[in-house]
Amino acid sequence: MAKIPELKSHHIWAFCLILYLIPVVVPVGSPFQISEITLKIYNIIENLPEGSIIVMGGSGVFAFDYEPGAAMIASIKQMAKNKLRLVGIPLGMESLQLHKYVVDTAKVMQADGGPWKYGVDYVQLPFIPGGDAALVRLLTSVQSVVTVDANGTPLENLPLMKDFRSYKDITLWICPHWGYPSIVRYVTGERGVPSVMFAHAYSYTVYAPYMMIYPDKVWMTNGFLGGAQYEKLVGFKGLGHAAVDSYTLISVAYVFFVVLGNITLLTRVKKEEEEAEAKK
């Protein structure tokens, strides 16, 4: 049997790059199913009473949180459609930038032709340093930790903030960030507020135990695929759909190279055995 040569890393990278770029040029439109958990989260938000306050908050790194951003954008569109209200609470330095990105991309503000008015339907708080201690103080009394929003406007001038004083006013906490354990511990565990995490594919396994511990209060989607599923439910094609094609092709490449690696090993072993036999 002929020996298959070991591929160098840059050969593999070049192949993957070509594969990754195919859907950019020619959208594949790979099909996918809606998972039960994504449907559950969608229905929970869909059935919330009008005017409910949802918090989008947590601590994370923007580049990582790009992945949950897909589902977050879709859910913001859903919230705007259902006349829900949103408060952004960034607990990490880059979280503020992500919150602005998802709201701007969802185009739900009146300036973008959407129904939301800033201060009435949506308020963005500034970055709150202090980690868990700040979160706990904020949950007890919002106004004791922040007095102005991200634009510097005093909170008492914002109608939404008159209805949001403490954790008791939060109907649902959505975390599109990596720093979910603090939210589960202090928001859901200690104060009983239900929470949703739009998880990265990588963090899903890490945080899945929380769904087991709080089966009626914690739910999670799974990466870009979860985002694409949520977009399909809301009825538009966004970041999730754009990523799913490449996701699909690269996962095929992953399997292909693992199988190829093992075939290479097999042929090398067989060749060595044949050579050893020939020497005898």
Partner: protein
């Protein structure tokens, strides 16, 4: 019905933390007993850790090849137990390799960790009688506090210096592939250990410390009898945890929530 004891305990201990506190006290007692027995002369044998054996061999291999060793204690600061374990490994590796003339290179993303590594390297050279060889910034590089600016910088550092062995023990998350791939390209032996991204370490490292083995390695690498004794305490605590799990599972299977209520006490 609330008894007098319940109300007294509730006034002193916060709700939901009673069992946790009790367990912590038990853990301290068990560790102290192991430490005390170790001090009294009891010798505890630990099974050989594959990664540790690889580190000892790797230092020798680097001396033969004339290549440096590179140690990365993670991306977190001094407040992380994993970073402290990584620093213990780094300290011992620096000491051993400096004695035989192998430079130890290091990088980290946290500035406080960098300061500690610089001090360790300086002390190692002084202890080996070669203080003139030490220069600030020569062995320890900092590429930024951001996770990926560190990862890209570390990858470039590895490609430039071509270490014979790359040890990554500490707190790591998703930046492991960037650094480890560079290590693979220069043909370095890779030893890794972390709690959070075991899957990525296992994919790239030749030898791994699985989970809490990084803490065992931090103790074992010093070859200090008393530190190794505390590992016995760690084992006893693990047995206790397994016992609680088994009892809890059995009780849950019978429909009893005693352990669950105890945990929430």
């Amino acid at each position: 019905m609330i008894s007098a004891t319940d109300s007294l305990v509730g006034q002193i201990v916060k709700k939901g933390l009673g069992f946790q506190l009790t367990l912590l006290i038990i853990m301290v007692i068990l560790t102290y007993i192991a430490y005390y027995l170790g001090k009294r002369g009891r010798v505890w044998e630990i099974r050989p850790l594959e990664g540790l054996e690889a580190i000892y061999e790797g230092i020798g291999r680097c001396a033969e090849m004339g290549r440096p060793v590179m140690v990365i204690p993670g991306i977190s600061g001094l407040g992380s137990a994993e970073t402290l374990a990584g620093l213990s490994v780094l300290g011992e590796v620096t000491k051993r390799s400096t004695e035989i003339g192998v430079p130890t290179l290091a990088t980290a993303s946290s500035t406080e960790t960098i300061m500690v590594i610089e001090a360790m390297t300086r002390n190692a050279y002084t202890a080996a009688g070669k203080p003139e060889l030490y220069e600030p910034g020569k062995y320890v590089r900092w590429f930024g506090s951001d996770q990926f600016s560190y990862a890209v910088g570390a990858a470039g550092y590895i490609l430039a210096e071509k270490p014979g062995m790359l040890i990554q023990v500490g707190y790591f998350i998703a930046e492991i592939p960037a650094v480890a791939e560079a290590g693979a390209r220069v043909g370095a032996i890779q030893v890794g250990g972390t709690l959070s991204s075991m899957d990525l370490i296992a994919m790239f490292a030749d030898y791994i410390f699985i989970g809490e083995e990084i803490f065992a390695a931090a103790a074992a690498i010093t070859q200090d009898r008393i530190q190794i004794a505390t590992l016995a305490g760690q084992d006893w605590i693990r047995l206790l945890t397994i016992g609680i799990l088994v009892v809890g599972m059995t009780l849950m299977a019978t429909g009893s929530k005693v352990i669950v209520d105890l945990l929430g006490m």
